[in-house]
Subunit: 210 residues, 2 copies
C-alpha cells in the first residue's frame, strides 16, 4: 500500500488530521466529512481528499469517513499502531520541555531513558525517570528496546552523542542541536531547527511588506 | 526579485545554508563552491544550485560564491537584513528553552518581552527581561515595536493569547501549542508541532521495515 512518492508535507498533515480525529473520537463523533476535517485543521477540503487518496479509498460518498477507522488507518500509515521508545539526551530546558510534552505520550511515544553528562544532573529523577550519564547510552538503550534518540545537547556535543546512539543500535534520531550531524545512511535523521521556523515567517512577512 | 512560487522547503534550506555561510565567514573563508555548501549541510550540490537559482545568478563559474555576498543576499531574501522583535508568551520549560536559545540572537531575533499568567512567574527576571502578566500584552507590545509573537502556553490558553497578540498589532505568530489557532488572514501563522517531526521519522522507519 505504501509507496515512496508521498510528499513529506502530506505525512505532516496526516499527523495533524490524526490528532484532530482522536479529539473528535473522544467527543463521541462517529462519522466526519473531508470538509469537517479541513475546517477543523485549517486546510482546504480538496487538500484533505488529495492527502487521503495517496493511501486508497476510505470514505463513503455522501456519508463521509468513519472517525475511528480513518484514524486507525492513518496511525498505521504513520507507523504508530505500536508504540515507540525514545531516549532523551540532554536535560536542559528543551530536554525538560520534551520530557513533559503531553503530545508524545498521547501518540504512543514513551521516553524510556534520559542521559546527560552533567554530574549535578545524573541521578536526578525527571518525570519518574532517573537521569544517567551519557557514557551509559550503549549499555542502557538496547536493554530498554529504544529505537529513537532525541538530541537536545549543545551543538558542540551533538556529534559525539549521535555516534554513541548509533553504536547503541538506535534506528532514528531527532536532532534539536543546531548542527549538521553525520550518521550512517540507514539511520533516519530529522533536524528540528527552531530558527528555521522563524525565518519562514520573516520571509513571508518580507514578501507581504515589499 | 521575489516571487510567490518559491517552495517552503527551499526557504528552509536557504536558512540552513545561511547559517553555514556565517560559520565559514567567521572562519575566514572568502569563496565557496556549491559542492562545499552541499557537503557542509548534507544536501546534493544540484539542490544547492537549484535553490539559489530561484533568486538569480550569484556565483562565478569555476570560482564559486563570495561567502559574505551570498550570505548577505540570502539574509535579505529571508527578511533578516534588519532585526525582528519577539514577544514570548508562556515561560514554562519550552519558553525557558526559547528564551535562552542562542540561535535566535545570532540571526537577528531579539526577545523584547515575556508574558505569563502565573502570579509566581510575573516579576521574575529571565535573561534580563521581566516577566509580565498576559493582561499587559496589548499595552507593552506596541511600545516595544514587537512584530512576532511566540506562543508556548498550554493548548487551552493558546487561542486567548493569539487574540490578545492580534489586538496588540502583532504581524506573525509562531505557535508551539498543539492546537489549531484562528487568526485573521493578514497574520502570518506557523505551527511548530514537536510530535509531527517524530511522526515523519516513524513513517520513514515503517517504510524501511515493511
Amino acid at each position: 500500500m505504501k509507496t515512496l512518492k508521498i510528499p513529506e508535507a502530506t505525512i505532516m498533515r496526516l499527523s495533524v488530521y490524526s490528532r484532530y480525529l482522536s479529539e473528535m473520537d473522544r467527543k463521541g463523533i462517529i462519522t466526519i466529512s473531508s470538509g469537517d476535517i479541513a475546517e477543523g485543521v485549517g486546510v482546504s477540503p480538496a487538500q484533505v481528499r488529495k492527502d487521503l487518496a495517496y493511501f486508497g479509498e476510505f470514505g463513503i460518498r455522501g456519508v463521509g469517513y468513519n472517525v475511528k477507522d480513518l484514524n486507525r488507518t492513518i496511525l498505521k500509515i504513520l507507523g504508530l499502531s505500536e508504540g515507540w521508545n525514545i531516549a532523551l539526551v540532554g536535560i536542559g530546558n528543551l530536554g525538560l520541555a520534551l520530557s513533559t510534552y503531553r503530545g508524545f505520550k498521547d501518540r504512543g511515544f514513551t521516553i524510556t531513558c534520559i542521559f546527560d553528562n552533567n554530574p549535578e544532573k545524573v541521578g536526578m529523577i525527571v518525570n519518574g525517570i532517573e537521569v544517567m550519564h551519557i557514557d551509559r547510552i550503549e549499555e542502557i538503550i538496547p536493554q530498554r528496546k529504544t529505537q529513537i534518540g532525541a538530541i537536545t545537547v549543545p551543538a558542540s556535543a551533538a556529534q559525539d552523542v549521535a555516534d554513541k546512539l548509533v553504536r547503541a543500535g538506535i534506528k532514528a534520531i531527532l536532532n534539536f542541536a543546531p548542527v549538521v550531524l553525520n550518521v550512517p545512511p540507514e539511520i533516519e535523521l530529522r533536524n528540528v531547527d527552531l530558527s528555521v521556523n522563524l525565518e519562514v515567517l520573516t520571509f513571508n512577512l518580507g514578501g507581504r511588506m515589499a
